[in-house]
Structures are given as structure tokens and as C-alpha cells.
């Protein structure tokens, strides 16, 4: 059935409730809520959260914002924790200890809990082939502890552990390409997405990820107004610019075949994405044009690589 945002929001229950305590304008809750809506209403879910903004804001004793079962253990092990729950499900199902009906397993981790401290646990869970979806909501820094750089932080970004100083102009490394690391695990489904327009791309990818048998990975950009330094109401504009500049391409990899879901007719210059964000402010000072040039070059090269991968992996 074709996606209809009105139908989805009106007729599928919100499984990530109001009353959570994430910041006003946070990019993560709309993403998590819409992913949860991709579940069939009759299916049940066990959700795992890595320690991070989303986990500490959605499950503060005695309140939980999750209407499905939820488990949080620690920062670096959402993958393994959920893998254990999934193994229990397989075992108990096989032994006839559970009633009929499907249970789905979904983990949420920020880029800290996913790209960095949780990478091993994620890799293990994906490699072992548990029937689960791991969602990284990538806000490009350790926001929960106060905006420290992560391996997902873009180059030159000003963070509290990669401050733009007199000698060092922000983070000096390019960001890690986690989606491709996941593709290297030969998973049946890997996708990169974000909340764009009416959230069709996000919803359809979530649906595929959840209902593809075996491990699946979603990398979802989720802007952080506080960490990125933009007014809270700009969430969707930032998302749009990330897509239109090809900073955050929308693509999926199904059984190793790349498919780019959106190719801008005219790619916007990267400045458009960088300019509204205070974390890149120093790049716009006189004599710092080289930083923007370098950034543009990297974006171009990664975009070209993606185009090439699409071409190569779809050859007969």
C-alpha cells in the first residue's frame, strides 16, 4: 500500500509517547516514533536503548515513554542486550513457551553508543544474524554528556572536546562511514535516511528493516539544536539541506546492492548546510575558505563513491 502520512499517523498508534523529556525541537523523537509506527499494529516489539539522550529522557523512573517492552542496560551494549532478548525469543518460541504472534526487536543508539563505544557489540550482533533492527540516531556528537566529539562528528565541527581554537580549528578528522561498515557485514538490509518532507523515506526503510528477516541497520540523521547551534524550529530545514547538499544521502543497500533513493537535480553547495549551524561558524571567518573547500571536496568525493557503488553493485 502506498505511503500516506495522514493514514499512518491517524491509524497507527504512537508507540513512543508524549511526556518524554528530550529537549524541545530534538530531531530524535520524531524519528523513533515514526520508526515504531512502521510496525504492524498487531506486532509486538522489544526495544533496547543504549545509554544516551533518548534513553535517559524516555525512561526516567517511574515513567516510560515506550508502549512496547523496553530494556536499557548500558552505553555500549544495546546490540548484545537485544541479541540476548532475541535469542530468548527464538529459544522459547521453539520450545512452545510463548503464545502465537510475532515479536520484533529494535535497538536505538546514538552515534556515541553506536559508532564508538558500542561498535563491537553492534558488529557482533549483526554478524551473528539476530533477527533485529539496529537504529542509530546520529546527531554527530556525544550530546548527552554535553556535545563531545564522536567519530560521527563532521570535520571542523566545534565540540567541547574538539573546540575551534586559535591553533586547531575544530575536529580534525573526517567522519566515520558507519553505514558502509554495516554493509561490510553483508546484512540483508542497510539504509541511511532521515526525517525528510512527509517522512516517507524513513517510514518505508523502517518497514523494510523490521520486516526483513535477519539483521538490519538504519542510520538516521537526527539534528541536535543545542549541539549544532541552530534555532529549535529549523529541524526540517536542516534535514532538507543535509539531503540537498548530499551531505546525508538517502540510500539503501539490499543484499549488497546499493540504491540511492534521492538524487538532487542540482546539488546545493555545502555552505548552505554549514552556514546555519554555529558549530561551523569559524569556517566562515576570513581566510578560512579553505575549510569549506575541503569539506565540499569530501562531500563530492563521498557522493561520487556512492554513485559508483550503485552502478557497480547493480551490474548484471
Amino acid at each position: 500500500m502506498a505511503y500516506n502520512v495522514k493514514d499512518v499517523v491517524a491509524n497507527k498508534p504512537s508507540r513512543f509517547t508524549a511526556g518524554h523529556r528530550m529537549c524541545a525541537g530534538c530531531g530524535a523523537p520524531p524519528v523513533a516514533r515514526h520508526i515504531m509506527r512502521a510496525l504492524k499494529p498487531e506486532d509486538y516489539a522489544v526495544v533496547a536503548g543504549a545509554t544516551g539522550c533518548m534513553e535517559v529522557s524516555t525512561f526516567i523512573y517511574p515513567y516510560t515513554a515506550w508502549t512496547d517492552s523496553f530494556i536499557h542496560t548500558a552505553f555500549e551494549c544495546a546490540g548484545a542486550t537485544l541479541a540476548g532478548a532475541e535469542a530468548a525469543y527464538q529459544s522459547m518460541k521453539k520450545q512452545g513457551k510463548l503464545p502465537e504472534g510475532d515479536t520484533k526487536f529494535i535497538a536505538f543508539g546514538g552515534d556515541g553508543g553506536t559508532y564508538d563505544i558500542g561498535l563491537q557489540s553492534l558488529s557482533g550482533a549483526m554478524e551473528r544474524g539476530h533477527d533485529m533492527v539496529y537504529v542509530c540516531y546520529d546527531n554527530g556528537a556525544y550530546m548527552n554528556t554535553g556535545i563531545q566529539r564522536s567519530s560521527a562528528t563532521p570535520k571542523f565541527a566545534d565540540t567541547t572536546t574538539s573546540p575551534a581554537g586559535k591553533v586547531i580549528p575544530g575536529k580534525m578528522q573526517w567522519r566515520k562511514d558507519l553505514a558502509k561498515i554495516m554493509v561490510g557485514h553483508h546484512l540483508p538490509y542497510v539504509a541511511q535516511t532521515l526525517g525528510y518532507m512527509n517522512f516517507k523515506d524513513l517510514y518505508e526503510k523502517a518497514e523494510k528493516a523490521i520486516y526483513t528477516e535477519g539483521p538490519a541497520f538504519l542510520n538516521v540523521m537526527a539534528p541536535c539544536p543545542r549541539g549544532w547551534g541552530y534555532p529549535t524550529d529549523q529541524l526540517m530545514q536542516i534535514n532538507k539541506l543535509a539531503v540537498e547538499t548530499c551531505y546525508w544521502p538517502l540510500y539503501e543497500v539490499i543484499d549488497g546492492k546499493y540504491k540511492i533513493n534521492y538524487k538532487p537535480a542540482k546539488k546545493l553547495p555545502i555552505e548552505e548546510f554549514l552556514k546555519p549551524q554555529k558549530r561551523f561558524k569559524h569556517m566562515f571567518k576570513p581566510d578560512n575558505e579553505w575549510m569549506i573547500e575541503k569539506f565540499q571536496k569530501e562531500v563530492d568525493s563521498r557522493w561520487q563513491e556512492l554513485l559508483d557503488l550503485e552502478e557497480i553493485t547493480n551490474r548484471d
Binding site: A24, R33, Y63, F199, P231, D233, L235, M236
Partner: protein, 96 residues
């Protein structure tokens, strides 16, 4: 619904901090975080649906006829994301 609070004695707290009433965060109102409020101008609204999914607070109710209703100010934190995505100027931000 949730009978646990700062005065609950140890013996009445759930072991391990488990919560058996999933989704009870709804009882925790976040509307008082707001310093500006969105005002829904229903005559300008074309029910395009762009504001439905963007609300971080799930504070834009959509009824079974797939039409949005007025804001749920119990939860709206006043971020203004909805106002910015509305192509028809149907959501105005006003000081509280």
C-alpha cells in the same frame, strides 16, 4: 495509574526499577517547558500532513478522519518545528 512518587516507601517500589505500565510517561506533562506557543489557524490549514510527523512531542492530534486537531498543550514544548514546515502559515508562534 502510576502510584509511585518521591514519598513511596522502599517496600512499595518496583524491584529493579522495572515499570509495568508501558507508556505511562503520558502522565508526565511537559507543557510547562514552553516559552512560546504554536497557535493553530484552522481556516488556513489545508490538512497537508507535513506537520503531523515532525512534532517531537506527539502534540499534534490526528483524528480517525485523518484530520489534524488543535495542539495538545499538555506536552507541546514550543519548539516551533511545526510552524516552520507549514507551507500555508497555519501555525503561528506566540509568546506565552
Amino acid at each position: 495509574m502510576t502510584e509511585i512518587n518521591n514519598n513511596t516507601p522502599m517496600e512499595k517500589l518496583t524491584p529493579g526499577g522495572d515499570i509495568y505500565t508501558a507508556g505511562n510517561a503520558r502522565e508526565f506533562k511537559t507543557g510547562d517547558w514552553r516559552s512560546i506557543r504554536p497557535v493553530f489557524l484552522s481556516d488556513k490549514c489545508k490538512q497537508c500532513g507535513l506537520c503531523f510527523p515532525v512534532c517531537p512531542e506527539d502534540a499534534i492530534p490526528v483524528n480517525k478522519d485523518m484530520l489534524r486537531e488543535d495542539f495538545n498543550y499538555d506536552y507541546c514544548k514550543g519548539c516551533g518545528v511545526c510552524s516552520k514546515v507549514c507551507p500555508f502559515g497555519a501555525i503561528e508562534m506566540k509568546e506565552e
